[in-house]
Subunit: 360 residues, 2 copies
């Protein structure tokens, strides 16, 4: 039960919703573009399906539609941005832009962000660096769903890392990965379809491996990349922890089990040590290391060598990080984006409530 | 068949060997300290057991004992170091020191290194940042043993990432991880003992999952963290690729399948596009983001919360990255370091060949 919409109609609708809740025209456009990038790139869990969630956060006064986003501390290559409780979709471009400006001036720029909210997909922000011949690096923490190795408590979010690297004639390298075996969105799909998960994705409330995706709602947890100790889960745990500390502790945001949740019906944690959720943005100018044309020549050779690697006979080809999303983005931009009927219903309800033109 | 030696006797012996092959007194001490750190921290595969390998590299004229290490390009926050073919154990401290000096001046420092060799364990270099109230970040590429997801060709090394983060009263966070499910050293142990590996560590020459550690010498490959696509190996592959590009492509070193191997009997690849192997070093001053005492208070709270997390009943406690290595370092510094008899024999042979005092 799916229905197909053009990118532009979904983008326009999303922009209208952000405008109605009080965003400036500029912020509404920025937030809509950012959110829709997830749908274009095939990360449906982070796109327009979450629009209702953003509205509920605003209704619960847990997201500020008119933030005064500020750079509150800086050195030539670093800084901290306070998002004033704004939408991460708006705060993130502000911070990434400062990182890029600093990289122009001193070679690299690194901005930790506090007092923000969910920012959509990390790749949307990291890829801003590509047009500037820079490497973009983006991380964010998120509310705790993941148990560290040996723990039965959830202490980390799915905490993604994105690194976007420019190239010459080859399509660029864009890795955007949750530091868990499987992203939460994949679990939600299994829950909806009542299907079992592979081993290594989740554990039950006692810390035992489980394949039942509903365990996550019964005290279970997502597992760090690796799954269990024998398969390197301590490494996935370490990576998620690094993201949490860079995003949360370095900025003065919340961290670990104190990161506020995205669903507005989930109470915020007690005794929060910081402000909102945290992000971390980096930009490195290529020619702060090597002449850009030399780097791009080598990067093209790297990309060609990996894309042309010999695949195992079960597979057509070896991919470079970002390839599936890039192909999906092109396809969906041309052919439209399909939404599940439950999502369409949510959006129709929003249209009625806010008296804006419905999706068509 | 093991024999125990004091840290100091192993360090002295190692320093003597590096002196005999022509290192300056300063470089020999630096290299010996760096190599022995691996033994202290329990990473036996990267310590004195490799000393003979370093000597063979020098004998094959693939390592330069008297390098003119140079900063060949820089901006206020970035730079490239050419290691002149020197031992990574000597090149790495040079580069990390520049990263730290740049961080003192402009908040952060980022140095890509080319024309280097293996540098021991990444933690040895990243932890230099801790005393400066900085976060240390270290990566290196290595010769190709790892197959990207879907590939039957080996195109990446085990490419480790280390991040060291300072704290207040709690012991610091030090994550040092190969971006593979299992480090090569663990495979070597299984090969020696003729034991099977868990699924997810290796594949055979056709790209099929294998548990036979000897497959690695028959055209098989190590697997990226995650093991297979269902368990997130595309993420481990992406992380290993990021390390390769930051270390190799950004610096002008070799990358991917062209990284020269550590064993001197393995021929160097044809048509190498760069110089030597590559590393990447970063330092970020804590107070370039927040007052250091505020950060440390939060970091201590983070560390306590994770160390005191409720473990599953099969486990005693939840660990923070770096805890096992820190405890091992303390223990081995006090009680000595045990070496397998094959390693002792190698070192005795070295002593005889170079006419230096044998281990005692």
């Amino acid at each position: 039960m799916e229905k197909i919409f053009t990118y532009e109609s979904l983008r326009r609708f999303t922009q209208d919703v952000f405008t109605v809740i009080g965003c400036s025209a500029e912020h509404a456009a920025l937030a809509a573009n950012g959110l829709l990038r997830a749908d274009l790139r095939g990360i449906d869990s982070h796109g327009i399906a979450r629009l209702v969630g953003y509205v509920r956060l605003w209704e619960a006064k847990r997201a500020n539609a008119k933030p005064q986003i500020q750079l509150v501390h800086e050195t030539p290559s670093t800084g901290v941005v306070d998002g004033d409780g704004g939408l991460g979709l708006v705060v993130a471009p502000f911070a990434m832009n400062i990182a890029i400006q600093k990289a122009k001036q001193v070679g690299s720029g690194w901005i930790a962000v506090r007092n923000s909210n969910h920012f959509g997909i990390a790749a949307e922000h990291a890829m801003k660096a590509l047009d500037e011949d820079m490497i973009g690096i983006v991380m964010t923490n998120a509310s705790a769903l993941v148990a560290p190795t040996f723990s039965i408590e959830r202490l980390l979010g799915t905490n993604p890392i994105c690194v976007a690297i420019p190239s010459g004639t080859e399509p660029p390298f864009v890795a955007d990965l949750a530091t868990t075996t499987a992203a939460n969105g994949k679990l939600e799909i299994l829950q909806r379809k009542n299907q079992q998960a592979p081993e290594g994705w989740i554990q039950d409330k006692d810390g035992h491996i489980s394949t039942n995706p509903h365990e996550l709602k019964a005290g279970g947890a997502l597992l760090p990349l690796g799954g269990d100790r024998d398969h390197g889960s301590h490494k996935g745990y370490a990576l998620g922890a690094i993201v949490d500390i860079f995003s949360g502790v370095l900025s003065g945001a919340n961290y670990g089990p104190w990161v506020p949740p995205f669903p507005a019906y989930v109470p915020i944690p007690e005794n929060m040590p910081g402000k909102g959720i945290g992000h971390f943005f980096g930009a490195m100018r290529i020619d702060a290391f090597r002449p850009a044309h030399e780097f791009k020549k080598d990067m093209d050779q790297w990309l060609k060598r990996f894309r042309n690697a010999k695949p195992a006979k079960e597979y057509d080809q070896v991919l470079v990080p970002g390839d599936p999303e890039r192909l999906m983005e092109k396809k969906r931009f041309q052919n439209g984006i399909s939404l599940m009927s439950a999502v369409v219903q949510d959006l129709d309800n929003l249209a009625e409530k806010f008296k804006i033109s419905p999706l068509e």
